[in-house]
């Protein structure tokens, strides 16, 4: 088990006049299963982009395993041990499923033997029940299968912290079940998982801890039961028209 230490200190992001993320601070220091919830537009994806190096915070600092990573390029953050998926899947379309796995595999372990990496890729694809698609171009996959592929690619990076941005959104229930199993396994493997959803019920059962974003600010951070009865959280959800 690798040591985990993700630390956000008053992280903010402004887009013009829009405070998308507003002085968010929290830390992850053990292999927890953390749900991050908040209505649409609350800033969850933006916060993910800040943590993964896709965006540079306007203010604030982020440390991962002792290294400062805010504003660092995404590949560097990835190598420091943080992996993420995208809300809208980003399969490398004109590359096969195996090649999609080998990109992070070789980026993470440039010196490894290809055969070993391929073996590992097959193993992971098997776990995700898409090993029969190994040699398909990933653009030929269904949206749900692409989500699974993204989850698989992450494991090739052997990250200590994983952020899953809306992994269940628009996925067939049968594949959702596979994703649940994946999350449990990866967690048992000793990784911290931040599971993002706009739907509180979806993550409530799974999580040990809930973070609630509202208008970019972190309004609650604690055990699911406590968070659920938090007046500020209820207000945030009821005071909003959810669109799905």
């Amino acid at each position: 088990m690798s040591d985990i230490n993700l630390l956000l200190n008053r992280v903010s992001k402004r887009f013009g006049g829009n405070q998308a993320v507003d002085h968010v601070s929290f830390s992850v220091t053990k292999p927890e299963l953390i749900g991050m919830i908040g209505p649409n537009g609350a800033g969850k994806t933006t916060l993910t982009n800040l943590m993964s190096g896709m965006l540079k915070p306007t203010t604030g600092t982020i440390y991962l395993n002792g290294r400062r990573i805010d504003g660092h390029p995404a590949y560097d953050v990835t190598r420091a041990g943080l992996g993420r998926t995208f809300q809208i899947t980003r399969a490398l379309g004109r590359m096969t499923v195996l090649e999609n796995m080998m990109v992070p595999g070789l980026a993470h372990r440039p010196r490894a033997r290809r055969l070993d990496l391929e073996e590992r890729a097959h193993e992971i694809l098997g776990l995700l029940t898409i090993d029969h698609l190994t040699n398909e171009y990933s653009r030929a996959l269904s949206g749900g299968q692409r989500k699974l592929l993204e989850l698989g690619r992450l494991l090739m990076l052997e990250p200590s912290v994983i952020i899953l941005d809306e992994p269940f959104a628009g996925v067939h229930p049968r594949l959702q079940e596979t994703i649940y199993q994946y999350i449990h396994r990866v967690h048992e493997d000793g990784k911290a998982i931040i599971l993002i959803s706009h739907d509180m019920d979806a993550v409530f059962e799974l999580s040990h801890r809930l973070l609630v974003l509202h208008h970019g600010a972190l309004i609650a951070d604690g055990a699911p039961q406590a968070v659920r009865s938090d007046p500020a959280v209820i207000e945030a959800y009821l005071g909003h028209d959810e669109d799905d």
């Binding site: 995404a74 995208f86 749900g144």
Partner: protein, 388 residues
């Protein structure tokens, strides 16, 4: 059809398509090695082949840059020109660092020396351009590189005191062989060897992890970056690498191997478009496909300069000749344009793609693709919540 299928499966079982492909490739290489020894071939035919090899290098390296790495650049000809012009300038004027008071005279450079310097400068400019292009994508990258390329061409045209203007610039002859036939023979082998070496080097890159990263970058820069690929490094790397290849090819070709002087006309956008067209017709994502596309296109364009239609049954034309000669002139480019349009519309991967895929056996692994798509009919893509 049944027979064809049986032949196919027999081949798969006994020989393997890949090996058959290599055998065919070997035969093609043997043909090219033998060709100049065929006494019936004129020097003109060899010249056509030499220029075919040169364009094969241009188009295949463009395929690496655009087809594999996704950098749709129009600057490729300009980098070739940089290699050639720098070699020519060094051969004539030497190198002078006025501010340091250091100078190396032109005489102290061998032809090879000038070619090396031309290649290095092409790579250096590739580094700068690659860096400037980092944040530009697709259409902007194309526009930027067109502007760069035109700027370079116009500089070469207007600074005629240095560059010879529209008359062009001659480089130091690389081979000094008095006998024309013997010279043409050596030039032929030299250019062919250069093509093989460039293809091998590019295949080595394309098949290494770097090639995988380049393709990932082509597909989605952000995703590649999130998967640990240092996109900046590989983008610059592919620009430097391909610039050096075409800089080298240009410096050698114009050192009186394929042509005795480099002229600015060669750097026009039309010429660049032809390089792209050859690659597209042959297959942008395949180095060998693009090379073959360029060679075959060059050959056909040459062959089509004049179309001779023999009249049947001893008929004669009013002037007494028994053949009708059609001067196709610009029409051959029109035909070429039609082929390109057809390729883009119906065979996006190039006309040679089916052949190359068959020999690689890749289609075997892909056969089931269509069936599986609907297997898991999820609601995907419906959750259209906007990312970022």
């Amino acid at each position: 059809m049944a027979i064809l299928n049986r032949i196919e499966s027999a081949i798969d079982e006994s020989i393997g398509r890949r090996r058959l492909g290599y055998a065919l490739l070997g035969l093609i290489i043997l043909f090219f090695l033998w060709f100049p020894n065929d006494a019936s071939q004129s020097n003109y035919a060899k010249t056509v082949f030499i220029s075919g090899f040169f364009y094969a290098i241009m188009s295949s390296s463009w395929a690496l840059l655009a087809g594999i790495a996704g950098q749709f650049s129009f600057g490729h000809m300009a980098f070739m020109g940089i290699g050639a012009y720098v070699a020519g300038l060094v051969a004539r004027d030497g190198i002078v660092f006025a501010s340091l008071g250091i100078g190396i005279t032109a005489e102290s450079f061998s032809a090879i020396g000038t070619i090396i310097i031309g290649t290095l400068i092409a790579g250096l400019v590739g580094l700068v351009i690659g860096w400037l292009l980092l944040r530009l994508r697709s259409a902007y990258l194309a526009l930027f590189t067109i502007a760069f390329s035109e700027l370079f061409r116009i500089m070469m045209l207007t600074e005629y005191d240095y560059t010879g203007g529209s008359n062009g610039l001659s480089l130091r002859p690389l081979l000094q062989i008095a006998d024309i036939d013997a010279a043409r023979q050596v030039e032929y082998y030299l250019m062919f060897a250069l093509l093989i070496v460039c293809l091998l080097a590019m295949y080595w890159v394309a098949n290494s992890p770097i090639g995988l990263f380049l393709r990932a970058m082509r597909e989605d820069e952000d995703a590649a970056s999130a998967l640990g690929v240092n996109v900046v490094r590989y983008k610059i790397l592919v620009f430097v690498f391909t610039s050096m290849i075409v800089g080298l090819a240009g410096a050698i070709f114009y050192s009186d191997v394929g042509s005795e002087r480099i002229i600015p006309e060669q750097l026009e956008v039309l010429q660049m478009s032809l390089i792209i067209a050859y690659a597209v017709i042959g297959g942008m994502e395949s180095l060998i496909g693009a090379a073959a596309g360029a060679f075959i296109s060059r050959y056909l364009l040459e062959a089509m300069r004049e179309v001779v239609i023999s009249l049947p049954l001893g008929l004669t034309l009013p002037d007494g000749s028994d053949a009708f000669v059609w001067e196709t002139g610009a029409w051959r480019f029109a035909v070429f344009g039609v082929v390109m349009v057809f390729t883009l519309r119906y065979m996006r991967n190039g006309l040679l793609y089916p052949i190359i895929t068959w020999f690689s056996g890749r289609d075997l692994a892909m056969q089931e693709t269509v069936a599986k798509r609907d297997d898991d009919d999820d609601l995907d893509e419906q959750a259209g919540a906007s990312d970022e």
